[in-house]
């Protein structure tokens, strides 16, 4: 009999003894003499109880229970478990992930896949803790490209060139995975989707009511449109001013829409420029057209503001389509999107694409199975179902899927072909802080910069606190230099 079995047996005996203790011998709890005790080392179920005996039994029971729990954690059905993390975890998406998991498990009976949702604001902390504790998930999907580059540079990710080959490199849009190409020439991730995150969503009915025949193309036009559309409980815009990642990510786009950049192509801090001042001035001027709560807006609040009809325009990705269809179908026929207006017509549009990717943390067990599962996520028809769970939001990176009639047959994709096409094109040409333009080197500190809220803080200082832009921008530039050094 092994030790744990002995302890379990004692635990059972203790439970039995406990029953008698509570009943027949309860009166012996106090004042019992040594003569009434059982022999040491023996469990005398019919003997009077003493406090010491009871303590021994409790100690034994505790140890047995502990061992039992440990044994329980160790035992499973013998299958190898893969853990999959993603912040894209809306109920419809999780349902499709489970279908993909079921399909993979059916073809690989020795493997079990567990999906664990994370969040856009929470994943840095969760991944940092997972890496530090060496309890990393096998697979992470839908995180921004700069996250993968950052972790790979620190030696925390597996190269995934063979995953890309297993999916079929020729199936991707040309250059779709270039943003994941590292300095050593390998792929640190593969694109699982594209998202045009900061599209300009507008209500055609409100625009028409305001006497405007076309959506605004410049900031001046946007301000005027918002002024005309605001009223009757409807605000003009849903820009974020909160102390969070959304404000940072969105405001970076406005610096570019003013013709500026946060870093130069060789990653010198370049935020202290007239373009940034123009962007701040624009953001400040738009505050009166946004709801009072915009000072605390993040992704969810900004999306809901437009979807609920509280704002005439919105700034978000394609998830607007599904949410309007489900939550406010009354405006579904009136919504459309275009690229967000720029400061002037001479400045080209700049679209924020977070390049949702798939990567494999180094050190996770069952690497071969993980890679096989990763590749399986791109297999139609379930990959199409996965994209259909958030139609227009997560756009395909495989050109074979984008042209697939099964993909195009989705009711929402079929209903908004112009919007989907525009988002697909602009997302493909999009950028993020990880690589602000095609000329930029990958910025391996982008993740920390966003997490530091340095840029969101700049927006809040100037817009909410009314600080003078120049010292605020200078302080931000200094902080960015510090972060780049760190």
């Amino acid at each position: 009999m092994v030790a744990s079995e002995v302890l379990r047996a004692r635990f059972v005996a203790a439970l039995q003894f406990g029953g008698k203790f509570r009943g027949r011998h309860a009166h012996n709890i106090k004042g019992v003499g040594l003569a009434d005790r059982a022999e040491p080392g023996r469990l005398a179920l019919n003997a009077p109880a003493t406090r010491r005996t009871a303590l021994r039994l409790l100690a034994g029971a505790g140890a047995a229970a502990g061992l039992g729990l440990t044994a329980g954690c160790a035992s499973d059905d013998g299958r190898r478990t893969l853990r999959w993390w993603s912040p894209q975890a809306a109920p419809d998406q999780v349902k499709m992930y489970r279908a993909q998991i079921a399909a993979f498990e059916a073809g690989n009976p020795g493997v079990r896949v567990v999906f664990e949702p994370t969040s856009d604001e929470g994943y840095p902390a969760q991944l940092a803790a997972a890496f530090a504790a060496k309890q990393v998930p096998n697979l992470v999907t839908h995180l921004p490209s700069f996250t993968a580059q950052n972790y790979y540079a620190r030696g925390l990710l597996e190269p995934v060139d063979d995953v890309a080959r297993a999916i079929g490199e020729q199936r991707f849009f040309p250059g779709a995975n270039d943003i994941y190409r590292t300095g050593d020439g390998t792929l640190c991730a593969v694109g699982i989707g594209n998202t045009a995150v900061d599209m300009f969503w507008y209500r055609k009915d409100l625009l028409q009511k305001a006497g405007l025949s076309a959506p605004p193309a410049t900031w001046d036009e946007l301000r005027e449109a918002c002024r005309r559309m605001q009223g009757g409980g409807v605000y003009g815009a849903a820009l974020p001013y909160g102390m969070n990642g959304m404000t940072s990510l969105i405001f970076i786009g406005f610096i570019h829409r003013a013709g500026g950049q946060v870093f130069s192509p060789d990653l010198e801090v370049a935020i202290d420029s007239p373009a940034t001042y123009d962007a701040l001035e624009f953001f400040k001027s738009m505050r009166e057209y946004c709801p009072a709560g915009a000072s605390n807006f993040s992704w969810g609040e900004s999306l809901t503001a437009f979807v609920s009809g509280a704002t005439a325009t919105g700034i978000y990705g394609g998830r607007v389509l599904a949410n309007v269809a489900a939550q406010n179908p009354g405006i579904a026929g009136a919504i459309s999107c275009t690229t967000y207006p720029t400061m002037s017509r001479e400045i080209p549009a700049w679209t924020f694409n977070d390049f949702p990717c798939l990567f494999i943390p180094k050190g996770a067990p069952h690497l071969a199975e993980t890679k096989a599962f990763a590749a399986s996520l791109f297999a139609p028809p379930l990959y199409i179902d996965q994209l259909h769970a958030a139609p227009g939001h997560v756009l395909p990176t495989l050109q074979t899927i984008a042209a697939d009639p099964a993909y195009l047959a989705n009711p929402l994709i079929a209903r908004y072909p112009a919007e989907i096409d525009l988002m697909t094109r602009t997302a493909a040409a999009g950028h993020n802080l990880g690589q602000e333009t095609a000329k930029h080197r990958p910025n391996l500190k982008a993740s920390e910069i966003i997490s530091s809220n340095t840029i969101a803080e700049l927006v809040q200082r100037v817009v909410l606190d009314g600080e003078a832009p120049r010292p605020a921008v200078a302080a931000t530039a200094a902080r960015l230099r510090e972060l780049m050094r760190g």
Partner: protein, 300 residues
């Protein structure tokens, strides 16, 4: 029967061993969950470390120089103090008032005593979601009610501007944690001898006099302990503030625990985060010593 025959010394040794065996798990657990993390934090604070890998190099006291030399720490300390004092004051006032009410022979007293614990048992995440919804400017009940009552003309941003954000988290914190005060005070109220009140009534003391001359002095010990404990707990409160405001607007509600979190997991600077945590612990040590002194005094 056999134990009775054991020599006294052997029995004492057996008792001593049993005592050691019984206390050993507690010592081990306390060592694992308190002493080890504490020493680890101090050790980590002497390095520059990248959080995901915990790799880095020795920097000695440089992290502490950075902490105490930056305005961020002192600003966050002041914010933490405002939050702690504000929410603690409300907790004690609400808690005391509610405990006095629940000590009376009111209808459905048992039900009310159970329900009052609800906020304390509710998950912070759930509570924050509910409160964020209540405070929402577009569809929140608070703004609607205030506008309907004619108190405000337009929706107010309760979480996005100062001092609203600080006031809001103070109120939510008080709502969430005042049941602890209620439990402690109610338990003490039930042990105050009725004879004291009878004597006071005979002497002509009114309700206010009875409260200040009997009830409050009788509650002094328990209130002191409650305030000390809640001060420590509120001082290091993280999840409620992080989820409500994220530390904003600007740095208006950025308390020390939020800085530790951001340094450790946002900026991946575990050494600097540990230095912040140790500095924070030194501040809390004052409260802990006061508590230990108080608790020790009571035992004596």
């Amino acid at each position: 029967m056999a134990e009775a025959a054991l020599p006294g010394a052997r029995l004492e040794r057996r008792d001593a061993l049993l005592g050691l065996a019984l206390i050993a798990p507690t010592v081990l657990v306390l060592g694992a969950v308190i002493v080890y993390p504490l020493l680890s934090a101090i050790y980590l604070s002497l390095f520059s470390l990248y959080t995901p890998t915990l790799e880095g190099h020795w920097v000695g006291l440089a992290n502490y120089r950075a902490v105490f030399g930056s305005g961020g720490f002192w600003s966050a300390l002041a914010t933490t103090a405002v939050w702690t004092v504000g929410t603690l004051t409300l907790q004690v006032l609400f808690g005391l008032a509610m405990a006095l009410l629940l000590h009376q022979n009111i209808l459905f007293r048992s039900l009310a005593r159970s329900l009052v614990l609800f906020p304390y048992f509710l998950s912070t995440v759930v509570a924050v979601l509910v409160w964020r919804w209540l405070f929402n400017d577009l569809y929140g009940v608070v703004n609607h009610a205030l506008m309907a009552a004619g108190i405000i003309d337009a929706p107010v941003s309760w979480l996005g501007t100062m001092p609203n954000a600080m006031l809001s988290i103070i109120v939510v914190g008080a709502w969430k944690f005042f049941p602890f005060v209620v439990i402690a005070i109610l338990a003490r109220l039930q042990t105050i001898p009725e004879a004291l009140y009878e004597a006071a009534r005979i002497d002509g003391a009114g309700p206010v006099s009875r409260f200040f001359d009997i009830t409050l002095p009788q509650l002094r010990d328990v209130l002191t302990i409650v305030i000390l404990l809640r001060t420590v707990w509120d001082f290091k409160e993280f999840d409620l503030i992080y989820l409500m405001t994220g530390g904003g607007p600007v740095n208006g509600t950025r308390t020390l625990p939020l800085i530790v979190y951001q340094q450790a997991f946002g900026l991946n600077q575990m050494g600097l985060a540990a230095a912040h945590a140790v500095a924070m612990m030194l501040v809390m040590l004052v409260f802990m010593l006061a508590y230990l002194r108080r608790a020790g005094g009571r035992v004596a």
